[in-house]
Symmetry: C2
Subunit: 190 residues, 2 copies
């Protein structure tokens, strides 16, 4: 939990007493590698914050292949936010890429937390403002970059990530086949 | 301004006195068709809310072509949010598609507004949470849909929009050539 305390104070001023109250709205969850935290067709009850490990979000394409659309490492939030907001069933999966420890908050607790602790309105405003800005840039890159440029750009932004994520998942996220990713990597090494 | 008052109350509880105070942080701006509100290389000073008309965001590709990445109709916000947050120079343009009336808020005023009016933290938290959820869906669609499916999907979601936006801009947004868009439309009519 130390990581959440440190993380929160990067965004807002909060004292130990209020932090203790805030944490009562969350639960800690341990998940095994490849465990699904959310599956297509299930009610999207929770928003997840990664304390340790890595989660990913994917959907199943018409041809049956999994398409990864998001990763979440330590201190990142991940949810099917659209269905979480509306408390609807999800149309995607959230899965642990590795053994992970996460905080989760239910939609009901999220609403109560924001009503009881205005500092958390400010915190989530900053988080979602940053996410909106990051999504705007990601959408631009999807228009702008060739597949090889996407890989180079991602490698520059997240060098540790490239080492840590299984290559077939990274390929899926970048919209490649694993074979094409191997080709790019071989070309860059030569 | 009536449109901003109505819009705000969809998201938060605010009385007339506080609304009057909130509006002092904003300026109203009239813009001509094709007027640039922000150009690449300029400091990204403002966040814009459309009262009337339509704005778009685009960047200039290496081949010199304009790539539209976002439209904003009445009650939508638009900015180069990444450079607005960091008060850096923009790497894109914001332009009026038609004669428009907008509210704008400077970064300095945005910071002051949030500090003075916690209700606006709640408002912007909701706006950016919705934007994050919408971006997640848009990114999924960029992976999932063929070009023809993108057009059909967009037409179902925003029927009025399709009538209103010049076809060459819509084609750019969807990642088509104008010729390809004409072909799809002809095919759907036949």
């Amino acid at each position: 939990m130390e990581i959440f305390w440190t993380h929160l104070r990067k965004f807002v001023e909060i004292d130990e007493a209020e932090y203790a109250a805030v944490t009562t709205y969350f639960e800690v969850l341990e998940c095994k590698k490849k465990e699904n935290l959310l599956a297509e067709g299930e009610l999207s009850k929770f928003n997840y914050f990664v304390l340790n490990g890595c989660l990913r979000k994917f959907f199943v394409k018409q041809n049956g292949a999994e398409q990864t659309t998001q990763f979440a490492l330590e201190t990142w939030w991940i949810a099917d936010l659209f269905s979480f907001e509306k408390q609807q069933v999800a149309d995607c999966y959230i899965q642990a890429v590795e053994k992970s420890t996460v905080l989760r908050i239910s939609y009901q607790n999220y609403v109560k937390l924001l009503a009881a602790h205005p500092v958390m309105e400010s915190y989530f405003r900053k988080i979602y403002q940053i996410n909106t800005a990051a999504s705007e840039r990601r959408i631009r890159y999807l228009y702008e970059f060739s597949r090889e440029e996407s890989y180079l750009h991602f490698r520059n932004l997240f060098p540790d990530f490239i080492q840590r994520i299984p290559q077939y998942l990274l390929a899926s996220y970048l919209g490649f086949t694993p074979e094409y990713l191997s080709e790019i990597r071989a070309k860059l090494r030569s």
